[in-house]
């Protein structure tokens, strides 16, 4: 097994980073790398789901939002105004209402034990859902109105924990939601799963965007605290000129640490018995199922694991930019680009996912000024030819990148369906 291809590709990456340092600045490069490493983590998460498990997930964005919300909830300072008000009591009542609803729904679902037929069970279930929904709405609506109207900042605030806990909580949130989704959807066929995950991501977005009492919605939360001293902290402690680069470097080191740990754990798991079983399930559901493997449980496991990694990645992104803006999440920037990363990098190979994550993120970022440069020149050329300048050059240049992204997907699928660093497990991955 030679690794020449990997060396070359990562060499290219190193050269690219070197160019960035010279062209932009060390500070700018570190920023790009910090964000790129967050995306690499997210790509690892998708690689676990799609590459290892063959599970489709077009809802990456939703998990990133959950991660972002998790870190805000954990690390944002405590909102004294909320805790000193009636808010907790009102929310408590809503929680009790939700619990009551859950109980009657479960009771209805298990109603065959009380001798109800299939039809009446269905009916009981529908009634239970309706009652639960009404009871819950009757409690949550006033609580929401109260918190959004009476409490300072208009939301519950955070828990004031260290950002690292926030990253962990982001992973937990994403994983927990993934568990619920997995329970419901993983039995579905691939295309149904694809549409289901898109839908879930949109619902998560709608919820986070509109649950102002919990997330502050489009009002955005900032500043989200950093896990390492920020530039301001360092500047205050006397590091004048070097404060920015030191702060960013510390952040980058921390994220790299997270990635290295997770990467090593994943590699170990993947080349161990667990990974073998996962590949068996991915490549042949039926055979794996007949071998007595609990396919669905394993799939949920893998879906949750991948989502948790995405959640952590999403937390790191939010923490870095220090602002949580639910309106800023877009499927293109937060779902499809991650797909491009693993398609180009090579699904089923963690190194490929890492490479794809960092490489595509860098290319995506620097393509912004490059596209603008090209379009400005085009515009000047067309102006010089007497055809008039291109209007809104900047926004058009941005859209050109979306086109190129799509083109990259289709070209990669056609000419390099296994990615730049293909899966290498005892022979090639079966071509599709």
């Amino acid at each position: 097994m030679t690794h020449i291809r990997e060396f070359i590709l990562f060499g290219v990456l190193a050269v690219l980073i070197g160019i960035l340092v010279l062209w932009l600045s060390p500070v700018g490069t570190i920023q790009i790398l910090a964000l790129a490493s967050a995306y690499a983590l997210i790509a690892l998460g998708l690689n676990v789901q799609w590459g290892y498990g063959g599970l489709f997930n077009f809802g990456v964005m939703g998990f990133l939002m959950l991660g972002g919300f998790g870190v805000v909830f954990a690390s944002y300072p405590i909102n004294e105004s909320f805790w000193g008000s009636d808010g907790p009591m009102l929310l408590g009542r809503a929680a009790i209402a939700a619990a009551f609803g859950a109980v009657i729904i479960i009771a209805a679902a298990k109603s065959e034990k009380f001798g109800l037929g299939k039809r009446s069970r269905m009916f009981a279930l529908v009634v239970a859902w309706a009652v639960a929904y009404i009871v819950y709405r009757s409690q949550i609506d006033p609580a929401v109105a109260y918190i959004e109207g009476e409490v300072e900042q208009g939301f519950v605030g955070g828990l004031g924990l260290h950002a690292i806990f926030g990253w962990a909580l982001g992973g937990v949130f994403a994983g927990a939601v993934a568990y619920v989704i997995g329970k419901i959807c993983l039995g579905l066929r691939t295309d149904y799963l694809a549409i289901a995950t898109i839908g879930i991501a949109e619902i998560i977005r709608a919820l986070i965007k509109n649950m102002d009492w919990l997330t502050r919605g489009t009002l955005t939360v900032s500043p989200v605290p950093w896990p390492v001293p920020t530039q301001a902290d360092l500047a205050a402690s006397g590091l004048e000129d070097l404060s920015l680069i030191t702060a960013r470097s510390m952040y980058l080191v921390l994220t790299l640490l997270v990635i290295v740990v997770i990467f090593l754990l994943l590699q170990r798991a993947y080349y161990g018995p667990w990974g073998r079983m996962m590949r068996a399930i991915r490549d042949n559901h039926i055979a794996a199922g007949s071998m007595g493997k609990d396919v669905k449980r394993r799939q949920i496991e893998i879906f949750v694991l991948g989502a948790a990694l995405m959640g952590i990645g999403g937390s790191i992104l939010t923490t870095y930019v220090q602002i949580f803006d639910p309106g800023g999440y877009q499927p293109i920037n937060h779902t499809f680009i991650v797909w491009v990363m693993i398609i180009v990098g090579g699904a089923g190979n963690n190194l490929g996912a890492l490479f794809g994550g960092v490489f595509i993120y860098i290319v995506w970022t620097i393509s912004d000024p490059i596209a603008e440069f090209i379009f400005r020149n085009l515009s000047e050329f067309s102006d010089g030819m007497g055809w008039g300048a291109i209007p809104d050059v900047q926004s058009r240049a941005l859209q050109m990148r979306v086109f190129v992204l799509g083109l990259v997907i289709t070209i990669a699928l056609r000419y390099a369906p296994q990615g730049l660093i293909p899966e290498r497990i005892g022979g090639a991955k079966a071509e599709d």
Binding site: F56, F58, I184, C185, L188, T190, D191, Y192, A194, I195, A196, I198, G199, I200, E202, I203, A206, L207, K209, N210, I332, F336, W339, I343, P391, D392, S395, R396, Q399, M400, R401, V402, F403, V404, L405, G406, L407, V408, I409, T410, L413, R414, P417, D432
Partner: protein, 333 residues
Amino acid sequence: MNELIFFVNKVLVSGTVLGSIYALGAVGVTLIFGILRFAHFAHGDMMTMGAFVTFVLASIAASMGIQTFWPTGFIVLPFAMAIAAGLALGIDRAFYQPLRQRGAKPVTLLIASIGVTLMIQGLIRLFWGVEARSFFANEPKDLIRIEVPFEGVRPIVISEPQILLIVTTVIAVVALHLFLTRSRLGKGMRAMADNADLAKVSGINTRQVIRATWVIAGGLACMAGTMLALDVTLKPDLAFNIVLPIFAAAIVGGLGQAYGAIAGGFLIGFAETMAVFNWSILLRPFRQSWPDWLPFPADLSLVPTEYKLTVAFVILVVVLLVRPTGIFKGAST
């Protein structure tokens, strides 16, 4: 009585309009699935693309001074549909056919369709920017008021594009039905959706059927996108947001079932409008006789408007769990 009219305007008219658009989109999705066995995610953007084609043609027509009784966008629609069908064929040729010939799995085609989505989105915004446009910048959008035979009651209001939309949808559905049940190619299409291997064995020209599928899907997508743009405004992300309800409609109707997709489209359309409708309006006439001990509900909508999107999705999930093949039995592989 006014409340009832309000209900008709807000639920019946809006639901029919929304349902028609969903139905036209879902038919395309379901036909492509039936024939090519993959979920074509770029369908929403094919709708947007079609709307922009119509917009360009309408602009050309307007600059040539063509003014008719009908909205210009509607007059040029047949030409736009032909162009959109051609574009759909080109997209298939360039991006899906090579993968099919390699024998790629449906999921690979599905990912490719995401690539196509991004390309169409990028191109549309590259050429037209991100701002909203209107088909009615230079001509009036007529409103039709249907008076009801009661004193002091508001009329039922429906806009001209909405009537055109409903009528065109009916025509399109009837035409599609005739095509699928009467024509040789249409029957071949049903045969291929039913059993692709046997269709091939029977000597049915599967390439021809695939082309017909793209022509129909592309044309209907153009029609749906244009109608949506005529009803509201023309935006680059016009249809991307309705791709979810469209897929929900196609799946609810049973993937591969053209009639199911139409029924599913109206089901989802009405469900969405009814879910966000404030039902307490219907209670207003009883306000006088409302018991004092019960607070009069100000808002009885089932779902806040922000969560409209969730309605389609919840229906989808329930159908998938209760009856995975859809209400009409859909293709199983």
